[in-house]
Subunit: 426 residues, 4 copies
């Protein structure tokens, strides 16, 4: 433990799946890493007073509130950590930045490009005043992903030719799975596309150092009508993301329901699914690579299958989030008879983030990516550096999501990704 | 061995990579399977007299000729097996069908839709006279692929939601790899698309029982100029596909060159690559599935990576040609705690084609798919049934290839696949 | 969070690799699970005052001490958690039990059978007075391992025929790796055998429900002399296990050194390795199974490769600790054409321990096995149940280790495992 | 094809599983490789006149006979290929060598050490007269295995520390599987040990260049009584190995039965299993390595799972016969952050035997190992070199089998492997 007494007092908004993951990370980060400041879990905010009190107790927050505006305004809060659904990101982030708080905002940055542009602009303004902001694309901090980035940056893959990225889940294959907030456009912005497609867009751009310049896309909603969640009087009841703390709670931690429908045999009321179940697109990256992307919640048997393969003129890498401690690396500069995909177990002290954890071969899990994210965020804030990915980086992802949506809406026609700079500069 | 004395006298045109593979299959098929007729390797044809004589000797053909028209005309030939590059398929096949020969034609059926339509029409006409025809999409006869088809046909996957198919190779990543015939549009028709993309189009349509109805595509030629093959006075010298018999001969068995360039230090003459290095597309299938396809010769480290995953409402299957004895099957109707992708080693007597081979766990190789193809072809011809895939099936694949090309040429715009029936019926 | 106010005040002795792992678990367990008592990290003990103070600060303990006897004697400690090297387990555990403290003791239970017998006897005595004890074979609580046990217990494997278990590491392949305490018999008891071999003995006995009845063994010390650790004035300095908190610190978290030798070019002093580098043995289990076991620190490329395969008359299971979220299960009662090893991703709510963590497919890591262990320990203590594995269970493992050592010492001759009951009953 | 007219006229004795595999290889070898002589499939011999006639027809032999002594005596036979069960190897081989025929004998060389010693002595005598002999450990010619040997021989693994080898099958797990000849000591010599254990003994000795010097072993017969094969009037009827040509025929190609028992409901007559179902042993190799070996026919789900891992001071290799086109290689001299097990797809022209087959990534199967074996045998005979493994090499394997049996018979006591030289020199 460092001897620092410097504290970063965190106020977190939201306490569902992401709130639990962030809490685990805030609780752990200073226990594992020597850092120039200590995170203090000062205040947690949610809409339901009873639930947020429970969450504070369980997750280890010192205090709780139902008033996020009050949280943002408090003098004794240094960092605002936004873990709510996407429809409230912009409002909270803009208020927090205006109040001079450092902001960590979950992905996707916003539900619309307009919101994202506003947030990026506000972040740029605040940055000039020493206020830091970051978007929570946590998978950049999976050690194997960071290692991929290093290999590409070091030229080990040569010229990048191909990117193929899928993020596959299967939690709504059952047509009786209820209409949770993640299936409602007004809450979630989009479906698989923004929820998990955003991750592979960010991850591949991060790793390759290239940006998607244009896409041709297809989206599909296989099941267009679903039962309403039981016990919900509309979706308002779930506004704070009232998923039970355990990620495996009802509906697989992906949404907010109390049950699967009325037990009295009446046919449950149904509603329309207004987001995509799956999105696929081909793309060009600005460095010359050709890419395919797929995000789906209908890939039976695939639970959290974020898989990325990148082929370059000198080598290739393959990553699978379900085996996140491993990286496959093909080095085409090796002797011909010895070339092969090497399964690197990314648990060595030489690997990113790993020297602080366990001995080689002792694997880490999903939640560690958040701890690594908090580590870098704390270090950046404490040393006056800008953490990445910035809101501008996240805006660019939003612009890709937007291009995908526009292409799909216009019969898969080729659609250029709008430049991020235009409005930011405006 | 059956006691039959019935013979099918085969005349094969072409003796390069495909010719060697077909020869191995003709030589083996009656040694392994009990069939109502025996294949007799009667005559082999190639343009270069010396080379075709050598090929006949090595591959085990009774006689050889340089005159394919003569071969087609002979009374003592029952079957014409076409293993030449795609630009000569139509002419030979039409002549053979007209002469009343049963025809087995390598894929892709032709280089153009017009040729393919003519061939399908001729096959339909000949079929009425008891003449059989088949296109050599040999991967349908990989036992694991046939098993996939059975699982889908039996309803084990439920409603098909997703197809993702890639066929990745890396044999031209080196910009100094020469301009072999497979990189010339006038010989090969297209590049990765027709050579290997055709395989995954056929395979996924076969397995799902659905046809691709529309696509949005992107193609790329990463290296646009390459050295001319040394020793070639133009490509005429390689017209018969004069690849050394060993598939690993110069240029990895994929083309026809004697070397990589002049040894005297002069800069070799170069020529333009006129086909695609890679083709990617998203697609819809007529049964409602959403799909991604990718064919590339620039996927460093991927040698023959035909990989297909199909997700249905009740289960999923995964196949990888580099591990062609295995099939992964996910059965979502199993108890939740026991669900997983099962690695089925497709070497049991209960599996398609396998009861004739070795004990369980003793794997087979690439070439066996041809033996299985010859088995089914012989059986169909001998019993008066129509083998599959028919020329009409292969025409449909050609129409998909055409739609991909048109979409790519028109800025990835959505492009419907033309119906096959229209012209066939005409 | 439960609303309980009941606390279990934990005093932990040792703060190296295991101390860090246990701390992470104590810190996390009540944040994830609803339990009838809360662990309070009350007091940490180590020999070096400065280091233990640092450890307390970093790991989150309320207080620290260098006096383990004092810790054991305090009225405000309910649980003694022993994380020291094996040579001090017996003394501390006996004192703690005598003082009426619940005891959690790291594995192996002791360095000698005599010590282990004394500990098991003391635990039995204490148990009558409501004092609980448990040995820390944490891998029993890896969800995939617990699931294996369930499958066997449910009869899904039928009659167990084969056990093959390896635990392979490679951290001392380099002959210049220093002579840390784990390579000294007087501190560690044995080498790979007791350190990692103990794990696979316990794990396979737990999963099969059978006990090893006899063995024929071979041990080897490939490198018999190694440099002494620099900066150590003997090994006393490392007695409390003063490994830096980060498991990856010097010597891979496996021992206690400050460096690899003198930097001034002098040839470092060396000492004799007095434990096994590797131990292999064949065994019979009392239910009729035939087994092979191997523990090695010389398996280049294997970092933490605990792998177990169990074959029964109806099925088989395979587990690999480097992919601890997965279990392979072969169900021979399935239709022949569909049998295969199913890769179960053990991250579903239906899987042991997992409903409290993340959504399906979001994997957990090594450290979670300790959290699960603490969960079960707390629950047992709070509800007045006996946790497992008991000291008697751990004594039985010690007896197997002893049989292995005796067999190896007597030229691999067949050696029966002594019964545990004899002395326990005494 | 070479222009050679030199022929090697082969007479093969036996036509069951091994006979079919050898026939496929003899038929193929000159079609694929340029060799200084051509194999001519002159004569096949079996005990049952009708069956051997069928086999000749199906497998492609020019003539057939029921008189192996006549075959050995004929002037127009150059090579005798022995594919019978082990109890007749010695008699046939000794006669053939005495008659000056080159001999290829299937493994294991014999059923007893005495026979094997006599055969090795005869081979040594014959060798002086230019007569060649070879034992058919075909797995040495799996390209990945040959590559392993090259890596070890080139020093890429450094000092070999560990060998772990298993050969697992499951074809007799069912207690109702009948008592085929392979389960009878007088025919087969031993059970899993000699049948499949012999393979891993030879393979690991070949790859490491070390010999097993001593063992401590355990064998087990889990099912001691089995139904007699239906339709067999004793085992005489199966003496020539009358397995149907298709390896998957009754009883999985592993034995010789016409069915599984009487269909009329009577309880079938049973007999005693007189061989081991499984054999496990620990061993030392003469170069210092420590090893574990396991051969079993009771490993449910393992079909032909010959798996070998070898750890050296500089690297490791892993091989799995069910994925025989792959080799995993760990190179510990690579940078720490990039080390991993590389999955080499052993299908490149640079790999042993592969330049003659298909392009990279087009895999080969089990049977190809026999074609490679015939290639090397023909080349050796034609050029006057001694093929390997020699009868002396195979005798050494027999001595290891014998040591295993003796150890198991004497309560797993440590048993030195007898030197081969003693008698050979006599």
């Amino acid at each position: 433990m460092s001897t620092t007494d410097r504290q970063l007092r965190v106020g977190m908004v939201g306490y569902a799946f992401m709130g639990a993951a962030h809490s685990q990370a805030w609780r752990t980060v200073n226990r594992v890493y020597d850092l120039p400041a200590r995170a203090r879990m000062a205040l947690i905010c949610g809409r339901d007073a009873g639930r947020v009190a429970d969450a504070a107790d369980r997750l280890g927050w010192e205090a709780h509130t139902t008033d996020w505006r009050g949280l943002v305004a408090r003098d004794d809060i240094d960092v605002v950590d936004i873990c709510t659904p996407g429809d409230s990101h912009a409002e909270i982030a803009l208020a927090a930045l205006a109040a001079g708080k450092h902001v960590l905002c979950e992905k996707p940055l916003a539900n619309t490009v307009a919101e994202a542009r506003a947030m990026a602009a506000a972040a740029a303004t605040a940055q000039a005043a020493g206020v830091r902001s970051m978007c929570g694309f946590n998978y950049r901090r999976v050690p194997a992903v960071t290692l991929m980035r290093q290999l590409v940056a070091d030229g080990r893959l040569g010229v990048i030719r191909h990117v193929r990225a899928t993020y596959l889940q299967d939690w709504i294959v059952d047509p009786q799975f209820p209409l949770v907030w993640r299936l409602q456009r007004e809450r979630a912005g989009s479906g698989a596309l923004g929820d998990i497609g955003a991750h592979i867009i960010d991850l591949t751009q991060f790793v390759t150092g290239q940006q998607i310049s244009g896409v041709s896309a297809l989206t599909e909603t296989f099941v267009r009508e679903r039962p309403l969640p039981a016990g919900s009087s509309g979706l308002a009841a779930t506004v704070d993301g009232a998923v039970p703390m355990d990620g495996h709670g009802s509906v697989d931690g992906h949404g907010s329901v109390d049950g699967h429908g009325p037990a009295d045999g009446r046919r449950p009321a149904t509603g329309l699914v207004t987001v995509d179940d799956a999105a696929v697109f081909v793309a060009r990256l600005d460095g010359g690579a050709v890419a395919t992307y797929e995000a789906s919640r209908f890939a039976t048997g695939r639970k959290n299958a974020l898989r990325v393969e990148i082929n370059g003129s000198l080598g290739s890498v393959v990553f699978d989030l379900e085996r996140l401690n491993e990286l496959e690396f093909y080095d085409a500069t090796r002797p011909a008879a010895e070339q092969g995909f090497s399964r690197i177990l990314v648990t060595e002290a030489e690997h990113p983030y790993m020297s602080a954890w366990w001995p080689p071969g002792h694997i880490i899990g999903y939640e560690h990516s958040f701890t690594h994210q908090m580590r870098d965020f704390i270090e950046a804030v404490a040393t006056g550096a800008d953490p990445t990915p910035s809101f501008a980086d996240a805006l660019q992802v939003q612009l890709v999501l937007d291009a995908v949506t526009r292409s799909a809406d216009r019969g898969s026609s080729w659609t250029e990704v709008e430049p991020a700079l235009a409005t930011v500069a405006a």
